[in-house]
């Protein structure tokens, strides 16, 4: 069965490459909002002000990592799943000897891995142009912490995406969820501003939401903000979210399967 998922991954890359220009342009899209954030930050610091406790270099690195993290750990509704459920295409998957969950996981993360390599290049170029520094200030410890957390947040982001997508079992149109997420997520995840500069009542809620474990905390880790004690606590909390969404996905899937009528 492992061969099937590998072959599926290769096929996904080929499919994406059929529309090469479209694929490459879609990565460049991340650079423009990032450039806006970097330019605004540079302007504020050039006026002699400081955002929260962030040094300029630290903040620029934060935005760089946040852009990459939000690309890799992005959540939303996965069009393929919604479409399968809505149009009855799910039946053809259910009769085959593989897990529908892992099938989509393979496709989803193959595209993410390809996109992250481009996003890394694009974000790095933006960083060098705006900051004038070739090497972001990142410590080896931070990279290790980031990789450990990524082992939890990667499946967590897919579980959230999967659970939102299978809502198509219960609602005719889930496009609204995607639109709402597109508006709220960059803000709530710390993509456009670090969450620690938010007013306290908003901050205490947002830093504990799963969205923060996908962008804000990984970006803080890479900026060297957390010591190991804080990091262990963070990992524990992320694991709790992972377990919760595992439960939610199982529950929604079994409930949805019962209501699915295979006629679209």
């Amino acid at each position: 069965m492992r061969n099937y998922y590998v072959a599926l991954g290769i096929q996904t890359i080929k499919e994406a490459m059929a529309y090469r220009l479209n694929f490459i342009l879609s990565f460049l899209v991340v650079i423009i909002p990032l450039a806006g954030q970097l330019l605004l930050s540079k302007y504020i610091y050039s006026m002699g002000y400081q955002i929260g406790s962030w040094q300029l270099n630290q903040l620029l690195a934060y935005y760089l990592i946040a852009t990459i993290a939000s690309e890799f750990f992005s959540i939303g509704t996965w069009w393929d799943i919604g479409n399968d459920i809505k149009n009855g295409g799910l039946s053809s998957h259910l009769v085959k000897p593989y897990s529908y969950y892992w099938h989509n996981f393979s496709v989803y993360y193959t595209l993410r891995v390809v996109s992250i390599s481009f996003a890394l290049m694009v974000a790095y170029i933006a960083y060098v142009v705006i900051s004038g520094s070739l090497i972001p200030h990142i410590q080896a410890n931070s990279i290790l912490q980031f990789l450990i957390l990524a082992l939890i947040t990667a499946p967590l982001s897919f579980l959230i995406t999967y659970s939102l997508s299978i809502l198509a079992f219960f609602f005719t149109d889930i496009g609204f969820i995607m639109k709402l997420l597109g508006i709220l997520l960059p803000f709530a995840s710390g993509n456009i501003l670090p969450l620690d500069i938010f007013p306290t009542p908003i901050r205490v809620v947002l830093v504990k939401l799963p969205s923060a474990y996908l962008v804000y905390h990984p970006s803080c880790i890479m900026s060297g903000v957390y010591n190991w004690n804080e990091f262990v606590q963070l990992v524990g909390e992320a694991l709790l979210w992972l377990l919760l969404f595992l439960f939610i996905v199982r529950w929604l899937w079994s409930k949805g399967r019962r209501s699915y009528e295979a006629i679209g």
């Binding site: 490459i24 423009i32 504020i44 955002i51 609204f176 639109k179 456009i192 500069i197």
Partner: protein, 263 residues
Amino acid sequence: MKRYIQYYYMVNLLGFKRMTYYTKSFIMELIADLINIVVALLFYHILYLNVGKGLGIPIEDLFILVLSVKLTGDLYNMLFGNGVHSFAGHIQYGSLDNILIKPMNLFFLLYCSSLNWKCLINLAIDSILFVILLTRYSVTVNAISIFNYMIVIGLATIVFTAFNILIYLGSIIFVRLDAFASLISSFFSLSTYPAVIFKTTYLRWFFTYIIPVIVIGNFPLLALKGGQSLRIYPAVVLCAVFFTAIAYLATMKMLKHYKSASS
């Protein structure tokens, strides 16, 4: 002219009926738009709490900037957005024939004939937010500055529309235009930033005359505030005329390459 008005009325009456049929979707989209503007205002509010004057211009000006961008966007979406955005679909599926055979002006049929009713509500919300903003921060405005503001917003909408037409005309060349359109549109995410962040003259020139980001938000703000803003009027008129002429000529020229066979 009468024929055009009749056509416009009939098309949009049908659009209104369709909208009332999908009430739930309409309300959902309205909620999303409201959340969008709240988030945009909150962004500057939080930054202001942290850096105060470090943002370069007063907080009320930043809020006016954000609302101006939204107003321009809503005007564009209400009057032209439906037509412009459906252009790529017409090319991709070969359905442009239905429009080309009608004995009316193509530019009108393609871009100006379909009204988005939802944005009418958005415009009402924008107006209420403006009134709240002006009274809450005691912004001094007079009839002339409001008139100037409306003129500049109108011209900015024309510039924004013409620019979008140019983007979507690319669908005659590219099979998949979505990423290209997203890339160019992403530049307009910069329109809610104050122009002072573009420090070099070259950048300001680029974002005024090549990708008219500054025209959308910063120019209306300057018009409302008065003062040293006289320079903006020739620039905004020039942009409107230039982009509209290019969009018109490009549409007519590109349509000659249309082969009615879908992409």
